[in-house]
């Protein structure tokens, strides 16, 4: 909706027919669902990055030669020693991996987390707007249907 104030948007809604309102409401609901899905995806991606950042932090605190258990699967661990924690390999997407220093690796995680955060906030705003449009359309639609029912029964 391009209209800035909600009262003028409401006026436009009042002018629409029931079929039009129904279509608008369905469209808005669809978009709300889509945005909700996107927000959920961002949240899971954010959780993954947070855990990666935590793992890096943990790793950087361990001294070289430290004994540890490395997970091969979720339930199988093998013993190993920490060789070098100064360099990490970062998956940057589409099959490319980059060797980074520990500091750069942490920086990478933090940057990605910040990027996701700003995307999340932007999407959240759009979602709130769409939701209010959907709610308003639903309300106007209901009142119109009620009016129509009252007119036909009387």
């Amino acid at each position: 909706m391009a209209s800035s104030s909600s009262s003028s948007a409401r006026g436009e809604l009042e002018k629409m027919g029931i079929d039009q309102l129904k279509a608008l409401k369905e469209q808005a609901d669809l978009e709300v669902n889509l945005l909700q899905d996107s927000l959920n995806n961002i949240r899971t991606a954010n959780a993954r990055l947070e855990s990666a950042a935590g793992a890096l932090n943990d790793l950087s605190l361990r001294p070289q030669g430290k004994k540890m258990l490395v997970p091969l699967t979720a339930s199988l661990y093998v013993p190993g020693t920490l060789d070098e924690a100064g360099k990490v390999l970062v998956d940057i997407g589409t099959g490319y991996f980059i060797e980074k220093t520990m500091e750069d690796g942490k920086d990478y995680c933090q940057r990605k987390i910040n990027l996701l955060k700003s995307n999340y906030e932007q999407l959240f705003e759009v979602l709130a707007k769409k939701k209010s449009v959907a709610d308003e359309a639903g309300m106007v639609l209901q009142s119109k249907v009620r009016q129509l029912q009252a007119a036909t029964t009387s």
Partner: protein
């Protein structure tokens, strides 16, 4: 007698138009799916390019090929990603054009169908009167 023949012709015409319309709509849906896929890929590639641009000249870059990591030149990786972005952008443009084209066809088909339906109804109404 001839009016019932015309009626049948019209109905057949209408049916074929409806089939065409369904096909066009299927194409549009397919193109939208493709568009979504390409948009996601483009975004991912642009992120990768941004990361590669941040790197120093002598940084080690690896490419995952199947299960193995293969070391690659930074310049080569850069060129590869750039080429991919170019390709995906071109594909996106193509899909957009195809969507627009199909939507135009869809609208004209809809109009044609409306006209046919009106004619059909007027003939049926005339028949009912007779």
């Amino acid at each position: 007698m001839s009016s019932s023949m015309a009626l049948r012709d019209l109905q057949r015409d209408l049916e074929s138009k409806a089939n065409d319309l369904a096909k066009i709509q299927k194409d549009i849906a397919k193109d939208h799916q493709l568009r979504k896929k390409y948009t996601i890929q483009l975004g991912e590639n642009e992120l990768v390019l941004k990361e590669l641009d941040l790197l120093e000249e002598e940084a080690n870059v690896y490419k995952l090929i199947g299960p193995v990591l293969v070391k690659q030149d930074l310049a080569e990786a850069n060129a590869n990603v750039r080429k991919r972005i170019e390709y995906i952008s071109a594909e996106l443009k193509r899909v957009d054009a195809s969507i627009q084209d199909n939507e135009g066809q869809q609208n004209s088909k809809r109009e044609a169908m409306m006209k046919l339906q009106q004619r059909l109804q007027s003939i049926q109404a005339g028949k009912a009167k007779a």
